[in-house]
Amino acid sequence: MNKSLDIIHDEHRALAAMLGGMNALVAGIEAGRLKPDFDLLADMIRYIDEVPEVVHHPKEDQYLFAKLRLRSADALPYIEQLEVEHVQGEARIALLRSALEAYRKAGEAGFAGFKMALATFLEQEWRHMNTEENHIFPLARKHLTDEDWAEIDAAFLANGNPWEGPAGEYAALFSKIVNTAPAPVGLGN
């Protein structure tokens, strides 16, 4: 039971690892331990853009939130807030991407802007995931019926292993990032 929550939780772990990795890279650059690898940072942004937008948020909106909306009035304010954040996701990631491009063009002078954009993005993402894990999950466990779960789980499982991407492209992107990111964040040099 609750396979769908397991899948969401697993995707959160992957996203959290990626966000934490970006944060660690930026901290390393700031401390002078690392040189900026703009292509790597762009790949990381691509990951945290595409995986949530393509495979993660649509499932939450279409299945989990849709059912929970019918079963729990307590969940409504959280759902409405999360749905707004899902809609705003594209704009938020665009800001982060443009901050990276500005950093790439300006060099060291662009670092502070990118760092601030990343910090803002991370804060929003942590809050978003925490709202889901700490408020939506418990309410869903409490209020959704067995029939609801069967329907939601079936829809989630029908996607196969969405975290890997339809043709394994997200798993490949994840591996590429891990192999490129310098130690100790990743396995690269």
Partner: protein
Amino acid sequence: MSNMLLEAKELHTYYGASHILHGIDFNIRQGEGIALMGRNGMGKSTLIKSMLGIVRPKHGRILVRGDDFTKAPTYRTAQRGIAYVPEGRGIFPNLSVRENLQMSARCGIDGQRNWTFDRVMETFPRLGERINNGGWQLSGGEQQMLTIGRALMTNPDLLILDEATEGLAPLIAMEIWRIVKEIRKTGIATVIVDKNHGAVTSICDRAMILVKGEVVFSGSSDEVRANPELIQKHLGV
């Protein structure tokens, strides 16, 4: 014919006067995955070491493929298709990546050679880039991959991973879990000792939780994941 690979019956293990394992029963069949969980110091690694003959239990029995291995040396257990990825990795620092892998190459107990040097390279492309580096030159994540690759080179039926992602950055840990998931799909039975319940229960079908050397939960991974109170009580920090 039984497909039981490894069993422990009523294991009691001591470190000196300290009673660590209190009558533990454990079993794993071919193709199964078991998540062995618990907070630090609860006896997870001691259970593994007891079953492999690295630590001798004072009471109880250990069966490997149905045969009594209670007093068998560790190498005999390894020869029966059980591979161990120890906590702390245990690579040979003065050997190259290639040598670390080649020294453990052998066919499985039924003569299978599913895991070749090339296949390990495909599974861990990063090791291919480091093939001539010494073990001491590898990062923690690379060492962990080498240790898993070395275990696979023995073509095991059972792979035991003890704290495989301990001390590794989350990105590397996620990558290792992804690879372990792929290894599981090949049908190798797996015991995974880890504190990350989210990761291990997504890989394994069964789960066992130890508290102070006793089994407080044994059931499906689904049951664990559906029970946040159980997780909080026994695994929460």
